[in-house]
Amino acid sequence: MISISMKDVTKSFGENNVLKGVTFDTHEGEIFGMLGPSGAGKTTIINILTKQFAADGGEVYVSASSNEMGLMLEHDGLFPRLNCLENLIIFEKIYGIPHSRSIEALESVGLAKAHKTAVEKLSRGMRQRLVIARAILHKPKILFLDEPTSALDPLTAQGIYHLIKELRGSGTTIFLTTHNMQEAVNLCDRVVMLHGGTIIEQGDPNEICDRYSAVKTIKDLEAVFVQLTGGGLQ
């Protein structure tokens, strides 16, 4: 079942044509990756799908209403003087969900022990995890993650990958943008590659690699580190 669909979508900011006829579909319960370098138009697509911008042309379909979406955007939008739990309680009240959900969400991102810590005192990785906790608080139908592991250490990133896969298991559609190709191979069921506002390739990431004979063996220090430390969020 189609969860998100864009058909021939265009968007310009002044003279700058950011999207030039973008077309793709995502299906319910899959992890869908939008790949591309900075400035390719990934964030613009998320902004259109989350109804922050309107597209100039084309058709956009999202199967979830605004409050059925979970969002992790470029800026975290957290309240810096409030602690982790208080930040979630605000949204718990907005969505009218039980308090236990905030506790569960904090536990699921490994922040239960830091629930009384003010956001301004959190590390970048912890903030990122708190944003994910806020995004999944109301069990959204679609979760938008804009560069979810950018600037995170490998261990924290692995923890977030694990969490994203768990969410997929519960039926949530996950739409993520990244410029980290390896992340996409490890995580995504399907990807589209965006370059200069145009989709240049799409499909299963492993199949794409095979298609271009791009499979290679590398000395993966990240994997060694994760193996040595046991992975997971601490």
């Binding site: 989350t50 109804k51 922050q52 605004s66 409050n67 979406m69 969002l71 955007l73 800026h75 975290d76 939008g77 957290l78 309240f79 810096p80 003087r81 409030l82 208080e86 309680i89 605000i90 949204f91 009240k93 907005i94 969505y95 009218g96 003010a118 806020r134």
Partner: protein
């Protein structure tokens, strides 16, 4: 209602944890206290009395001085409601915009009115304590206390809505402070200037801070021509107009962003 409740919760927690904002609610009554009681020291009064020309009715001078003390307090109250609150509210909202928190609230379904009512609820709630402190210093009791509190809350409401409008218009806290301060100075000190100049008083007649001061004069020094109902009517007409302006600016800002 749950949306207002969420914003009220957020703002109450944030206000308690923000010393810069909390200080604004304390500093004005503190200043009124200092002006009223510390300036009324016996030594200072004696010095002033000694400087009076021979033959002056000292008892009358003392009576006038004592009568004007509550007025000094209510002038501070007007400055608090007019000048103190506008930058506070603008800064709260500008921070929510700058940190992109307002965007997340809006995308979760928070409407402009729920956001404003939630923020205003907290500011009015905390201002009630500030207003009570002013009443205590001015010695208002009974009906005077109720009238003064009602007038203060009307003035506070006007400043909240105006501050919120400026907060929405600006992109960050620094810009909010820059844009609100001149307006806040005029609204806060305008009524004091109006006491010295009838032309300014006529010009400011339709402004809520002037009417707050008129109600305060009614309770302290008397001799006020404007009936109470008219003063309250003008203040709430200000609130309604500014509220309309806030909703328009909020919607326009959102459609642009």
């Amino acid at each position: 209602m749950k949306h207002v409740n969420a914003i009220f919760y957020k703002q109450l927690k944030d206000t308690i944890k923000n010393p810069a904002v909390l200080m604004q609610f304390i500093i004005f009554p503190l200043l009124a206290f200092v002006l009223t009681f510390l300036m009324n020291m016996e030594r200072m009064t004696n010095d002033m009395l000694e400087a009076l020309p021979y033959g002056t009715d000292v008892d009358m001078v003392l009576a006038n001085m004592n009568a004007s003390m509550p007025n000094m307090t209510t002038m501070q109250a007007t400055v608090f409601a007019g000048m103190g609150l506008i930058p506070i509210v603008a800064s709260i909202i500008a921070e929510d915009i700058e940190k992109k928190s307002l965007r997340f609230l809006s995308m979760a379904g928070i409407r402009p009115t729920a956001y404003l009512v939630g923020i205003a609820g907290v500011i009015m709630f905390v201002s009630l304590f500030t207003s009570a402190a002013f009443s205590l210093i001015a010695g208002f009791t009974g009906l005077d206390f109720i009238i003064f509190t009602a007038a203060m809350m009307s003035g506070v409401a006007g400043s909240i809505v105006l501050g919120a409008t400026f907060g929405i218009m600006t992109r960050n806290q620094q810009a909010a402070a820059g844009i609100t301060m001149p307006i806040a100075l005029i609204l806060g000190f305008g009524p004091i200037m109006a006491q010295m100049n009838p032309s300014i008083a006529r010009f400011l007649h339709v402004v809520y801070t002037q009417q707050l001061n008129v109600v305060a004069d009614y309770l302290t020094i008397g001799g006020v021509d404007t009936p109470l109902w008219q003063s309250f009517g003008i203040m709430w007409a200000n609130v309604a107009l500014l509220g309309l302006l806030f909703v328009l600016v909020f919607r326009r800002k959102w459609s642009i962003e």
